[in-house]
């Protein structure tokens, strides 16, 4: 098994949906969480693990992990950094930016000229705005002359934050 996500993702059946609904808020925190989950759902632990493994192989589950709350952990400055990088270079430079350890997400997105010329998005996290500014300087260095302009957008207010919702 290669474990590479298939491009089309995965088709979920009713049992997959029940597993997702039961785990969106987290796994049971016991030494054998998949067994406890299975018991709650009336399934066998083997089936629960097999289905989660299949969803992970298809990319529907990225990983099963501790999801840090950055703000509470002291990373109080989060900046959405956006960059105008030539189209013929962005796919080479984007992964290099993503590999920096302070970058949590890196994506290519469409420009909307003239209001929005930026096509490379990288979320960065620091303990202060000064730290974020230093991180931005590292990205600018890495991009060199491929950086035709950039901005940092700090979040000022969380207006809504909910989990994934699935059709019942």
């Amino acid at each position: 098994m290669s474990g590479r996500p298939s491009p089309e993702g995965v088709t979920l059946d009713a049992v997959d949906r029940r597993i997702i609904a039961a785990t969106q808020g987290g796994l049971p925190l016991v030494p054998e969480p998949f067994h406890q989950l299975a018991e709650t759902l009336g399934l066998t632990a083997e089936e629960v693990m097999e289905r989660l493994q299949r969803m992970q192989a298809a990319g529907a589950v990225r990983r099963i992990a501790a999801i840090p709350h950055h703000y509470a952990l002291g990373f109080k400055a989060n900046g959405m950094t956006v960059w105008d990088v030539p189209d013929d270079r962005v796919d080479v430079l984007g992964p290099q930016v993503g590999a920096l350890d302070f970058v949590s997400h890196a994506y290519r997105r469409p420009r909307h000229p003239p209001r929005w010329p930026y096509n490379l998005f990288a979320m960065v996290h620091g303990r202060s705005r000064d730290e974020v500014e230093a991180q931005v300087a590292v990205i600018a260095d890495l991009l060199g002359d491929a950086n035709r302009g950039h901005q940092v957008l700090y979040s000022t207010r969380v207006l809504k934050k909910t989990g994934l919702r699935l059709r019942a």
Binding site: P5, G9, V10, L12, Q24, G25, G26, L27, L29, P31, E32, P33, F34, A45, M49, L52, Q56, G59, A60, V61, R62, R63, I64, A65, A66, I67, P68, H70, A72, L73, M80, G94, P95, V97, D101, V103, S104, H105, A106, Y107, R108, R109, P110, H112, R115, W116, H125, L153, Y154, S155, T156, R157, V158, L159, K160, K161, T162, L164, R165, R167
Partner: protein
């Protein structure tokens, strides 16, 4: 948080293997029982250091669609537009950001791909404002590595 908590978070951000006893490896590495590993994780969730411990789902690999959208909201209409946008259940996250033009950024997720476009159209109609669609064209990296 003590040094063992920090080490646990550093280890567990990368994810556990799906198996009968997924915390056994961390327990062994840290020299503590598995019961203590899960107790510490539970405490960090309760204290708000972790938003949760569990699967990180990727909606756009589940047959659905996700997009990032941005709007230029006149400051005096902010509260009203927040209410109009947030009223859509498909809007999962919404942030105010300091930018001279695009000051509201939100994520729309739906299981039916055409639903994302319908929600954007509805928001345009309800607010009379343009909604800039910025779907991800390429994902270069996702995963937070906070070094604690």
């Amino acid at each position: 948080m003590d040094p063992i908590d920090r080490e646990l978070v550093n280890r567990l951000q990368d994810g556990i293997e799906i198996g009968p006893r997924p915390f056994a490896e961390s327990a062994k590495a840290l020299g503590i029982p598995e019961e203590e590993v899960v107790r510490r994780i539970q405490r960090m969730v309760d204290d708000g250091y972790l938003s949760r411990f569990g699967p990180l789902y990727n909606a756009d690999r589940m047959g659905g669609a996700v997009t990032l959208a941005a709007m230029a909201v006149p400051p005096e209409r902010m509260d009203e537009v927040v209410e109009q946008v947030n009223a859509h259940v498909e809007v999962s996250h919404n942030y105010a950001r300091d930018h001279d033009v695009l000051n509201m950024w939100f994520v729309i997720s739906a299981e039916a791909p055409n639903r994302v476009d319908e929600v954007m159209d509805a928001i345009r109609e309800e607010t009379g404002l343009e909604v800039y669609n910025m779907p991800k064209e390429r994902e270069y990296y996702i995963g937070l590595r906070l070094a604690l």
